[in-house]
């Protein structure tokens, strides 16, 4: 969200997001950049008080001024757009490292999220991902406007036009053992960014592919869809229990697989089932954590302003 729009920033804490990205880049016009920078320090605790993580997207060309303005306690990640070279990531790392020390932030707290949005970035994707230990999550996105523009690729088509780009980024992330962001193909021929049903289908497809981390959304209407889509359904949880029950039948038989109701049960299916159960529990914990944080803020606000009849 544009950090210069107070009604977005002030309501962010009650949206139920896992993270909010305070933007200094494309959503902020050039004449407001300096003003925007001055708002970040206060916006961080403001948006994160409901249990949400605060990220900032800085400008590709104003690294020093932007970082001075954003690296404050509470910031979880700096998103860097249009990353093209490993040196850019190393420069970010050096400046963030200094600012953390100057401002009493535990060393290594602030992550770097390098966005790959140009052909040059795609070419150097592995070197970018390995350039700093602050890059902890990496991979593909659903394909952004910038990438489409740079590559001359159409955005809204009914087939996966980014197979190579997404594959390169994801292979780098997997090779380096980073948290992998994946974007299974779900056709978007309408171009909508605010359609909750589409956001749900995208999130559900990603979760069914085993992914845990969302690339985020541009409209608050998609938050709940993403949260629900990334969480295993009750049916998934029941199915995972069933798979594990079947898998136990293999023990001591000398067989490595069996077929039940035209499904295959083996150690890989069992691992996926365990993974689903573990993820369902983590989601429930995170939901509780956020609900408690929101309740605390509401209680504090109620105490400040006595109820009016």
């Amino acid at each position: 969200m544009p950090v210069v729009t107070p009604r977005f920033v002030d309501h962010a804490w009650r949206r139920g997001c896992d993270f909010v990205t305070l933007d200094l880049e494309d959503s902020v016009p050039r004449h407001l950049k300096a003003h925007a920078r001055s708002l970040i320090k206060d916006a961080i605790p403001n948006v994160s008080k409901g249990g949400t993580e605060a990220f900032t997207r800085i400008n590709h060309d104003f690294v020093r001024a932007d970082l001075e303005a954003v690296v404050w306690p509470g910031l979880a990640k700096v998103v860097y757009p249009k990353t093209e070279h490993a040196e850019e990531v190393r420069l970010l790392d050096a400046i963030i490292t200094r600012l953390e020390r100057e401002r009493g932030i535990h060393p290594g707290t602030v992550e770097i999220g390098p966005n790959i949005e140009t052909a040059v970035g795609v070419t150097n994707v592995f070197e970018i991902a390995v350039a700093s230990p602050r890059v902890r999550e990496f991979g593909s996105t659903t394909g952004g406007y910038d990438l489409s523009r740079d590559l001359g690729v159409e955005m809204f088509v009914d087939f996966d036009q980014f197979v190579y780009v997404k594959g390169e980024a994801e292979l780098a992330a997997r090779t380096l053992g980073l948290r992998v962001r994946g974007a299974p193909f779900v056709a978007n021929t309408s171009g909508s960014v605010s359609d909750p049903d589409r956001a749900f289908r995208q999130a559900e497809a990603a979760r069914r592919c085993g992914f845990r981390v969302s690339g985020g959304g541009l409209n608050p209407a998609t938050v709940e869809s993403q949260n629900v889509g990334y969480m295993p359904s009750d049916e998934d949880v029941r199915d995972a229990h069933w798979v594990l029950e079947q898998y136990q039948r293999l023990e001591g038989t000398g067989e490595t697989w069996l077929e039940v109701e035209s499904r295959l049960i083996d150690r890989y299916e069992a691992a996926r089932a365990r993974d689903t159960l573990e993820w369902a529990e983590l989601c429930a914990e995170r939901n509780l954590e956020k609900a408690q944080a929101v309740a605390r803020v509401k209680a504090a606000m109620a105490a400040q302003t006595p109820a009016q009849k």
């Binding site: 197979v163 190579y164 594959g167 292979l171 994946g182 299974p184 193909f185 000398g254 490595t256």
Partner: protein, 235 residues
């Protein structure tokens, strides 16, 4: 000619005995994926006889080995009649060099022509795929690359389109690298819900046809009824 490579659990005597009649161009006696951990020791003891029997049946015999147990696996399988090994979860050129050296020593000790034994690297992990070009060129014995069970090892699941996540990229990447290194790309273009053991003959044929169309030369399979469709698709 290696249109179809049928993986057979080396621990199952009846399946090994039936293997030469399956119609496959290559039989891969598996020591890794299809053999229960507790049966592996005994299976290695019996492998010399299995290699001899299957090759006497007139098919090429490879053995799939586990790089973590490569000393034990190679000692068990390198006997006259063996054509080569499939290295599961191949990850680095160093690993291939070590296997190359052990093969050379065993060839010498056991009266096999020097350099006769081939290596197929199964790139089933991200690291293996990342290093694919170096792996393919690590030894003159490397004659092929395949993705093996990368979809399972890397936990790649179906997308809504039916494609298995990341596989279209990994397949094309592997084919280009194999051709650049002068080795054979082995595989088929499987789509959900066909998966290895459950793929019907019809779906195996379609996977083989799509595989051939993008440049694979012959594919691996897990069941005898998948052999004929693959032979047809790759003919």
């Amino acid at each position: 000619m290696r249109r179809s490579w049928l993986l057979v659990p080396a621990s199952k005597a009846e399946q090994v005995a039936a293997a030469p009649r399956a119609g496959a161009d290559v039989i891969v006696l598996d020591l890794v994926e299809l053999v229960a951990e507790e049966d592996k020791f005994e299976t290695r003891e019996r492998l010399q006889g299995a290699v001899a029997a299957v090759s006497a049946g007139g098919v090429e015999v490879f053995v799939q080995i586990d790089p973590e147990l490569c000393y034990a696996d190679l000692h068990a399988c390198v006997w006259p009649g063996l054509a080569g090994v499939v290295v599961s979860r191949a990850e680095s050129p160093q690993q291939i060099v070590e296997i190359d050296e052990q093969l050379g020593r065993l060839e010498h000790e056991r009266g096999i022509l020097p350099g006769a034994l081939k290596i197929v690297a199964a790139l089933e992990t991200a690291r293996g795929n990342h290093a694919a070009y170096d792996v393919a060129r690590a030894s003159p014995r490397v004659c092929g690359l395949t993705l093996g069970r990368a979809d399972l090892v890397m936990d790649l699941r179906p997308e809504p389109s039916g494609e298995i996540h990341l596989m279209p990229y990994l397949m094309q990447r592997l084919i280009i690298i194999a051709r650049a290194a002068g080795v054979t790309p082995v595989g088929a273009w499987w789509r959900a819900p066909d998966r290895g053991l459950l793929a019907t003959p019809e779906h195996s044929y379609q996977a083989g046809q799509r595989g051939r169309a993008i440049g694979f030369k012959g594919a691996m399979c897990l069941r005898a009824n998948q052999v004929e469709p693959l032979n047809r698709a790759y003919s």
